[in-house]
Symmetry: C2
DNA sequence: ATAATAGGCAACCAAATGGTTGCATGTCAA
DNA sequence: TTGACATGCAACCATTTGGTTGCCTATTAT
């Protein structure tokens, strides 16, 4: 879980996921295209995404194809974000109560 | 948005949010309690959470009260995670197709 | 008034991060 | 078979990060 959060913390990596979301199964060079980064930098980002299981790859000849795996993202939504949605109204009303208390 | 992702990338910070979720409106010292970190380290984490608008604070006398703001978390769920949920089945079936292609 | 309490500020440090360059390897096409 | 192409590996670098310690300020309680 921590690896996924860490992987998502970087804007470049999120944009790589975006690109794979737009077009799945791209090669490394395809993913580098138009980015203001060297290929090696992209490789590192992809390795982190792969370690977090957000991207699955396999070789096809001399090319390495990258596939988006949306499962970890979905899990974050289910296991983590949903927890905080429940408390939403309570939290805000408590805050409001406190803010009003300030003027006493 | 980037600030929120970055703020959520650290396990200590997520645990602080958890604590606030369990009990809202805690003071700094309350939040430090039981953590294997100095107060100053916690202060820094809280400052990052505050900058990302995940935590709202105000002073009450000599105490600083911390309140959870679940809105940014909710937005990540809405604006970011939901986008990837749509492509889920497609992505997996495409991957399966490619994996089968390997044996040709 | 004074001591204890709650928090803030700043300097410092080691390790992690995001990036680079240079070179090596494996695969395909002419 | 040889050159071009796709990727991998490793060393190196600057900056950011997560943490520390030491000291200062503000508020409360005795």
């Amino acid at each position: 879980m921590d690896e996924v959060f860490k992987a998502l913390a970087d804007a470049s990596r999120r944009s790589l996921l975006d690109r794979l979301h737009a077009k799945n199964g791209q090669t490394l060079n395809e993913l580098c295209d138009g980015l203001a980064m060297t290929r090696q930098a992209v490789t590192k980002h992809l390795a982190i995404l792969e370690a977090a299981n957000l991207v699955t790859t396999f070789r096809h000849g001399r090319e390495k194809l990258h596939y988006l795996n949306p499962v970890p993202i979905h899990q974050i939504g289910e296991r983590w974000i949903k927890k905080f949605e429940r408390g939403k109204l309570t939290a805000l009303s408590e805050l409001k109560k406190q803010l009003e208390k300030r003027d006493e």
